[in-house]
Every structure is written in structure tokens, then in C-alpha cells.
């Protein structure tokens, strides 16, 4: 089992983000379209990584609510871009446990005749190893 320190370092490495650059302005959370669905808010991701509390991030629903819309990435004035941290945390979870948020068995119930291939492809890319 990796220590929290290892995992925090991994998040920093995978994301390429230096969370210490954050000035806590909250523009990420102000921009996030899924804000209300998230238990840990985009701006909080930064301090969770700084404080190496990765287990909480790993269990957070926010990982699956993030839309990858890059609004926070575009608008962050400090080059922190929390979207990248969220993506890295999601990677860690998916890689570590193979804990898949989506399984093939679920698919038939979720789709309709019009569902574009793109949606399935991207869902698999995002949600499982």
C-alpha cells in the first residue's frame, strides 16, 4: 500500500501541477458547472493534495462528477488548474484498485438508440482502467 505522501507526490507528478501556487481565490469553484454535485469542491482539492489527504479524495464523489470541461483550467489565475488535480486523483483510484465506476454490464440499461459511440468511448476512458 502506498503512503499518503507517495500518493500526493504521484498526483503532483501525473498532473504536473504545483499546488503551492494556489492563492485560494476560488475562481475554480466559481466556474465549476458541477460544483453543487461535488462533496469536495475544486478549490479544496488543492489543499487536500497539499495536506496529503488523498484517501478522502479517493473516496470523493467529485472524481466522477467532474465534467472535464476545463473551465477551471482556463480561468485559474495561478496556473494551478484544479481540473488536472481531479483528473490525476481519478487516475490514481482507477489504477490502484481497478475500481471501475462503469462496468460493461451496466451499459445496456444506460444507452438509447441514438447514443453516440463517442459517449461510450469517453465514458470507458474516463471511468475505468
Amino acid at each position: 500500500m502506498k503512503t499518503e505522501k507517495n500518493r500526493a507526490e504521484m498526483i503532483r507528478e501525473i498532473s504536473g501541477v504545483n499546488p503551492l501556487k494556489c492563492m485560494k481565490c476560488g475562481k475554480c469553484s466559481a466556474s465549476c458547472p458541477s460544483y453543487n454535485e461535488m462533496d469536495i469542491k475544486p478549490h479544496q482539492f488543492v489543499s487536500y493534495v497539499i495536506n496529503e489527504d488523498i484517501e478522502a479524495l479517493a473516496n470523493s464523489t467529485s472524481l466522477w462528477k467532474c465534467l472535464s470541461c476545463f473551465a477551471c483550467v482556463e480561468r485559474c489565475p495561478r496556473d494551478v488548474k484544479p481540473g488536472k488535480l481531479i483528473d490525476a486523483a481519478r487516475q490514481i483510484v482507477v489504477r490502484e484498485r481497478g475500481q471501475d465506476y462503469l462496468t460493461p454490464d451496466e451499459i445496456p440499461e444506460l444507452i438509447d438508440p441514438e447514443t453516440p459511440q463517442q459517449l461510450l468511448v469517453s465514458a470507458f476512458r474516463r471511468y475505468r482502467r
Binding site: K21, M23, C25, K27, S29, S31, P77, R78
Partner: protein, 662 residues
Amino acid sequence: MQRIGVFVCHCGTNIAATVDVKKVTEMALHEPGVVHAEDYQYMCSEAGQELIHKAIKEKHLTGLVVCSCSPRMHETTFRNAAEKAGLNPYMVEIANIREHCSWIHKDIEEATEKAVILMRAAIAKVNLDAPLKPGESKVTKRALVIGGGIAGIQTALDIAEAGYPVDIVEKTPSIGGRMSQLDKTFPTLDCSSCILTPKMGEVNAHPNVNIYTYSEVESVAGFVGDFTVEIRKKARSVDMDKCTGCGVCQEKCPSKKTPSEFNRGLDTRSAIYTPFAQAVPNVPVIDRDACIKFKTGKCGVCSKVCQAGAIDYDQVDEIITEKYGAIVVATGFDMIKLDKYDEYAYSQSKDVITSLELERIMNAAGPTGGHLERLSDGKAPKEMVFIQCVGSRCADERGKSYCSKVCCMYTAKHAMLIRDKYPDVNVTVFYIDVRTPGKNFDEFYRRAVEEYGVNYIKGQVGKVIPQPDGKLLVQGADLLDNKQILKEADMVVLAAAIEPNPDVRKIATMLTASIDTNNFLTEAHAKLRPVESPTAGIFLSGVCQGPKDIPETVSQAGAAAVKAIGLLAKDKLLTNPCTAHSDELMCNGCSQCANVCPYGAISYEDKEVNDHGVREVRRLAVVNDALCQGCGACTVTCPSGAMDLQGFSNRQILAEVDAICR
């Protein structure tokens, strides 16, 4: 052979904590020419200098090496100490073992080793030092102030009061600058015009002050005490002597569609215009790009209505050449352009404005007559939202890395004024931090919250969303309540970052004054010489040096004036003796050196030389010490090696290279 003394400073623990100063001192004694070495806690102190004095006298030293802080810090101190003891001040070299060694290295062994090497290089250089004598140059007793805002006005007034003539060069048609655009000032809520216009009048009337408005500095030559400046006085198309300032021409001018610079483009002005009613001088200019007469040849209404006959369509730009002893830069600031921040919908809604635009809206002489209203439909707002730090404190290329410093306070001011005048208007401020370091500043901000009920929310705004009904939806974060907020607003005010006047880069280049990555002029020392440029004779006043509010600007303007007065009060200046010098026997008169000299300091003379018994007349390079600034460009370009720089000679630098690579 020199007799060299080496003095190693501990600088308290600044050096001694990382560099083994005892070892450095001991190593010094093994170096050629060194006859004395000692260390002391603070070499720059009175007691430290006394040690140097004593050693020079007792050991008959001919050269000194001081291992201490940067020469930019204390070289002069130690040179003066040497001079007092009867040693030529140019026989002193500094080994920088603080900024370049102890402060940046952690390992004592490594740092000590490096300190020894730096000391060796300095010793090698002193061994080849020769006494130098500075020359003298004259001081033109006139100062130039570039920029006619509050900084320039104050500096000019202070210099003029001390009895020296001053010229102000102002680019726009009137002095007054940004302060003239403000409505009220924090933290006392003084009316800006009420305190500025008397100063504008005073400086205009002062017998020692000469104001060139609608003018720009064209070129600068020379150096401290003796600058030659060309000023372009742009064609005003109005005779300043004849014009009475009655204003009829502006009323009758048929071209009224140009956005008013003074009102930040919120309304329009005529082609012939004064920027504002209290303009100094109260003489309009014709904007030739907007004037129908200049564009089509037909019109001439202003000329017809001018009873004084002051309109002159044939005026041309005039170049004035003047000499100055000192130059003060007071070029001020502007707000950044917001085109990269359209998440705030600045270009998509007329009701999203900048703070400076709000100043104009709040001002009785502004586009709405001082009435707070939405620019889209003229309706009175009920909900106002202020957004802080728009483009300030940014790590990306969209904005500025620094804090603009004035926004927190002026936003508190705006919020308070609005709540005071329109109690039914709710005011919300989205902030990241509220910064109020200044006399009565925090009290002022607290009043906005406690007495005026301004709603401060900690968190930035993500997006301003214009609504079909004309309202604005502000989507922001409340970090303390951990909520995302959607707030409906009638107007949104953006505290856009301030940036140095874009012209300052051009001016700094002309003045050879250094400028930082944000285009602020660099001061000679951040703490101890904050109003001087590293370039001698150039002084800094106001926001051109860094963000400042009005009281700070006025204090700095006064300080810059005092520094300029101190210079103008001297009859002679000592020149830098580290000038180039040509060896007559080696020079072949090829003119390469004169081609690269930026000061025109090198000329050629036919001179008789005695070359190993052969007497002949040769064409030789001669350096004018008064003009040479000692850059050394000529020394490298000289193909025969005749040209060398005193104080930084070829042999000296090679000796340093050798000492470092040893």
C-alpha cells in the same frame, strides 16, 4: 609589487554562518602581494573602517580587497575609507561573498571554497590596479519632469520652490493625469478635483515652471548633469498666446463623435477639445484625425467662430532642444485592457465597467452628470457587484504578477459612496484578500462593512452571465460558506489591474534607465535608494516605479525632487575615472573604436610618436574622458589591442579568469 590588505567581513552571521571567515582570512596570506589579512564582524561599521584605516597606515598598504557584500552596496563606503587613509580609492576591490556566496549556498565547505576563489580573483585584480583620478563635469541647473500627473506636478513644484527652473513634458493636452479623472479619494473622501486643481494652477503660475503639454520627449543624449533633450511639441492647431479659452469653438465644432479619452470612452467629445473643463492650460487642441477640415478640407467652423483668431490650421510640430542637469520620470499608469478577461463579459455588456469608468460615472462632470445609472438603459441600479483582482496577482500570461495595491481601498470607497448616496442600492464585493496597509485604511474598510453594510464575500467570480432581461447573473464562490453563488446584479464593476504607462519602455530606453519585466522602472536600491534610477541623474516619481496611492505618490514625488535638487545644487560633478584609454604606440588609427562608441567620445588626431626611436606622425584615437562612460565596447573592437579600459583592463579581467580557473 603591491602591498595588499585583505579584510573579511562576517556581516554578523550573514556571511559567517555559511563561510568560514577565519579560513578565508588565513588563505589570503598565501596570495601574492598580500601583506595583511584580518576579519571583523561588521567591516562597514565605523570600527571596521577604523581597522582598515589603521592597517593602511601601519602596513603601508597600496591596495585593498574587502570580502563582503556586493560592491553595489558598499564599494563606495570602502573607497571613501581608503581615501581618508590616503590611499587612492580605485585601489580597492570587493569580493562579493555575501550575495554571490553565503546567501545562496548552504554547504559551509563549498561556500568557503568559493569565497576563497572570489577573494583570489579580487586580489589578482588589485595587483594590477592603478590609481585613478576622476575628472569633473558641469551641472546644467535645470530639471526635466516627464509626465504631468500629480507625481510630476508635485516634483516640479518642489524643485521650482528650491529655486531651479523646471520643464514639465506632458503627452496629453492638459496636465492633471489620472488623479483628475477621479471623483473622490480614499480614505478621507476628499474631492479629487478640489485638491488637485489648485496644484495645477499653482504649477502653471510658478515662475520657475515651464509646461509643455501635447508634447513628447523625442530623444535624450548626454549624462548626469548634462543631458540634451529634444522635445516634440505637437501641432496644437491653436495659438496658445491668442486663445482665451472661451470654449465656443468646442461648442460649435460639428465633429462630435470621437470617444472622450478623459471619460474613458463613455461619451464623446468634439474634434477641437480640451480634455476637461479645468484643463491646464485651458487651450484646446484640434484632433486632426477627427477634424473635418483636416480630413476633407471643408469646414473651418472653429476658425470662423474664434474671436481671438487663435485657430491655426498650418501649425506644424516643433522640436525644442534643451539642456538639463536632472531628469525625473513621472509617467504614471493606465488600466490593463480587459479583452483577455471576457468571462466577466466586459465586451458583451455595457453594464460591466471598470473602476475608473465608475469614477467618471460618479463624477458630476462625467458622462451621466454624476448620476449612478446603467449605461445600457439609463436605469438606476439596485444591485451592484464589485469584482477584485481582475488581472492582478496572476501567474499566467493573461494578467500581471503583482498586486495593484490601490484597488482594495478604492473599492471600499466606491462601495461606501454608493451606499451613502443611494441607500437602497445593495453592494456586494467579491474579494480574494482585503489589503489595507496604510494610515486609517483598515478603519476605512471596516466602516464600509460596519456602517454602510457593504457585503464582502471571500471568493472570486467565475463568470458574469448577461440575462435576456438585461440583468447580469454573477456566478461566484463563497469560500467561507463553501457555496457557489449565483447573484443577480444590475451593474458589475471590475477592479482591473494597473500597469505602467505603455510609453515608459520607449522613454526608459532613451534614458538608459533599467526597467523590470512588468515595465516598472527599477530603483537603484529597493530599500535605500527608492527614488533613483541606477542611471545617474534619472529620478523616479509615482507609479512608474511601482503601484502607489496618492499620498505615497506625493511623498515619492517630493523625495525625487529633493534628490534632483541635491544634484542641481552642485557646481561640479566628479566623473567616473574608469574610462577607455588608447595606447599611442599600438593604435593604427583604423576608426573601429569610434564606430562603436555610443557617446561619440573618440576622435582622431595626427600626433607625432616616438616608436622605438622612429619618430613619425600618425593618426591616433583620442578618448574624451568627459564623454566616455566606460562601457568598454571599443576595447573589444580594437584590432590592435591598443584600446583598454581603466579599472577593468584586459590584463585585470584575464587575471580574474586565471584566478577562478586555477
